[in-house]
Symmetry: C2
Subunit: 266 residues, 2 copies
């Protein structure tokens, strides 16, 4: 593992950083394959959009690109980038001229263990609060996910689906979700909460290219009982079939393997 | 300003700290008056409760008490304490044996400027998402407050009231709120969101002692049009009268001055 803080090899961050005080930051987790950062442009695009929505000064995207590429290893791994609003005076009020802190953490292994036969998924009790101002962003105020992920630690479940406070399906704790209902793929809208994942975008683009675009809309929990297939996506796992949802068996969908093959050839 | 990290004079925190990655922490801001930490027991009680709810190991309260007292200056000031879940492996999942990080920041001045004639308060556009799992906690996933506080920066407004996503009044960006409606004080319930402030508790206890306990219940935004007085509370400002709410003038209530006098004599 290698850590860069503001471009320098350093293992620590100022104790007055607003990322630490208020979760006032954003992050990206990028997969490294054959020494290349997968979907780098889309990650940077989402980051820049998030920084704009939070009122951060715009990032130096060329500089970031160079720094991330330099941090990525030669083979397969992962790079995490955190950008906070930086050090600020006391109080929630953002400094007028924020100087964001950037933290790059590079791992020489992807660090994900995937069951060969597909994921076993259950339901989390903790729900996601709705807040359009933050919806879609991969920000660092993530206590809801932390509490949800703390709900299981044994071997009978790989991921947990989360509902929002109105009872709609939003995502898994660290992945987006697609359900095949009837002949169509459906993925929850993320205008109230949830993270608009880069792999969610990739799977949607790919499905569109196949002539079977996913429908983005609110999804009630009960609808998943009718789903014939369920898929979780994130930057590191790609798209993974769910083989069991709360005890009910599901079949792998051919789209999952086809997308996986496409992803490998990228 | 003096900073202690895990009891040592140090100005930085590990770049892998979960407080930085996920807002996985809690904080307390304590007022120092005449060299004493005001309501120290209540702050520690709230912290311990928050740590329990987030699944942190229990704090060493005696050690914390000593450390905070040592950090407080001789006169008037403030001490901020942050406790994060500490350094952990990748992912939201909390480590089984977390070793929390504690950060103590001591200021030699209270650092609050209060207008002599009472506060001018408006409404924030950003709303608070509802999440019972986090409601009441003074946690460090605070992007909602950051965005709300970024809505104004000129001289015509001192604080902003926040609604939750269902349109109920919850609090100001960094203070709790009490409204006198009819003959009674009313304060919003915090079972869906908001921070259960220590000064809120103090004002409630004091009101109870006066034989006029505040009613804690959901408060619709429209009800504040009927309020004859409005008060904001937090650990540093005590209880402050609002002199103007969105352009409407309000009278100071005698309870505010009486409580302020009681607070001074503590």
């Amino acid at each position: 593992m290698r850590i860069l803080v503001d471009g320098q090899p350093r293992e620590s961050v100022g104790a007055l950083d607003r990322g630490l005080h208020y979760g006032d930051g954003l992050f990206e987790t990028l997969a490294v394959r054959h020494g290349r950062l997968r979907f780098l442009d889309w990650h940077l695009e989402r980051l820049a959009k998030g920084m704009r929505r939070l009122g951060f000064p715009p990032p130096d995207l060329d500089g970031l690109r160079t720094e991330l590429a330099g941090a990525a290893g030669e083979g397969a791994g992962a790079v995490k980038l955190i950008v906070t609003r930086g050090i600020g005076p006391r109080g929630y009020r953002p400094p007028r001229e924020a100087r964001p802190t950037r933290i790059v953490i590079a791992y020489d292994a992807p660090g994900v263990e995937l069951p060969a036969k597909g994921l076993r998924v259950g339901w989390c009790r903790v729900r996601l609060g709705r807040n359009p101002a933050l919806a879609g962003l991969k920000h660092t105020s993530r206590l809801e996910q932390v509490l949800a992920r703390a709900e299981w630690d044994d071997g009978h479940m790989d991921e947990g689906l989360m509902l929002d406070t109105e009872g709609r399906v939003i995502s898994a704790t660290q992945a987006n979700v697609f359900a095949r209902i009837g002949s169509r793929w459906v993925t929850p809208s993320l205008d109230g909460c949830g993270v608009a994942g880069v792999m969610r975008r990739a799977f949607r683009e790919w499905l569109k290219g196949q002539g079977n675009p996913a429908e983005e809309r609110p999804v009630a929990a009960a609808e998943l009982a009718e789903a014939t297939a369920l898929v979780l996506t994130n930057a590191l796992i790609g798209a993974q079939a769910v083989r069991e949802l709360a005890g009910r068996g599901l079949e792998p969908d051919p789209d999952v393997a086809a997308f996986g093959g496409w992803l490998e050839r990228l």
